[in-house]
Symmetry: C2
DNA sequence: TCGTTATAGAACCATATGGTTATGGAATGA
DNA sequence: TCATTCCATAACCATATGGTTCTATAACGA
C-alpha cells in the first residue's frame, strides 16, 4: 500500500462518527466487539464492518481471548496524518493572523496593534 | 452543522488523493478551476465536483475574477482536525515508546531491561 | 457431547460517490 | 450583437458504503 493509499484509508476510516466513537472508546483500553457495539443502536455485524474499516487503515489491531477478539487502538496512522497536517500548519496560522488583524482593526482602528493574547492551539 | 458533522465533511474531503492534491496546489496560492484541472486526467466537471466537496468542508472558498472563480485554501477545518488529533497524541507516543523498548531489547538482549508495563505486543 | 457465547460472513437493499458526456449560463472581448 | 471562455448543472452509469437479517464457525462451559 502506498503512502497515499494509507492516507486514503485512514481519512476514510475517520470520516464516520461511529468509527470515531469506537476509537474514542478504545483510547481508554481494549474492548471486545460486543462491548464496542453496546452503545450503538446498530447490529453487531454493522459494528464488525466498521471494525474492518478501522483495521484496514491500521487504526486497530485484534487479539484473541477465548471467544473474544479484543480490539486495540494503534497510533501509527494517527501519527501519519498528524505529520501530513504539519505541511499545512502555516496555512491556518496565517488565517488566524488575518483574523486577529481584522479583530484588532475593528476594536481599535486607530491604535497601533498589540500582540495577541490567548493561544490558538 | 454540528462539530461532528464538520469533522465528517473534512475527513471525507481529505480521503481522496485528487482533493489532497488540489489542496497542495492551493497551498501555493489561489487558482482557477481550469488551472486546478490541468494536472489531472479528468474532466472539468469532475474537478468541479471535487471542489464542491472541499467547499462543503470549508476547506476552500471562492472568489470572483471576471469569468474565473478563483479558489483559496482555508485553514480552519485543518486546525479543527489537528485539535481533534491532539486527543490521541499520547496513543501514538506510547506506541513509539513500546517500539523503542522493543528495539532496545533486540539490540541488547543480555542486558537488564526496565520491565514493560502491560503485557501486550 | 451439547448448548451458549462471540464474532464473522453472505445476501440483500438504499443511498452515496466518482466518473462520464452534454448542456446551460454568466462574463468578456471583438 | 455574437462568439468565446470559464464554470456549473443535469442525466447517467458503475461501484462503494452503511445498514439489515440470517447463518456459519470457533471456543468455551456444563
Amino acid at each position: 500500500m502506498t503512502s497515499s493509499e494509507r492516507l486514503n484509508a485512514t481519512f476514510i476510516a475517520l470520516a464516520d462518527p461511529t468509527r470515531r466513537a469506537i476509537l474514542a472508546r478504545l483510547a481508554t483500553g481494549e474492548a471486545s466487539v460486543l462491548e464496542l457495539a453496546k452503545p450503538f443502536a446498530m447490529s453487531q455485524p454493522a459494528i464488525s464492518k466498521h471494525l474492518k474499516v478501522l483495521e484496514r487503515a491500521g487504526l486497530i489491531s485484534r487479539g484473541r481471548d477465548a471467544q473474544r477478539r479484543p480490539c486495540r487502538i494503534e497510533g501509527k496512522p494517527l501519527a501519519d496524518i498528524s505529520e501530513w497536517l504539519e505541511n499545512y500548519r502555516r496555512i491556518w496560522e496565517e488565517n488566524f493572523q488575518r483574523l486577529d488583524a481584522l479583530l484588532e482593526e475593528l476594536q481599535a482602528p486607530e491604535k497601533k496593534t498589540a500582540p495577541r493574547k490567548g493561544k490558538r492551539l
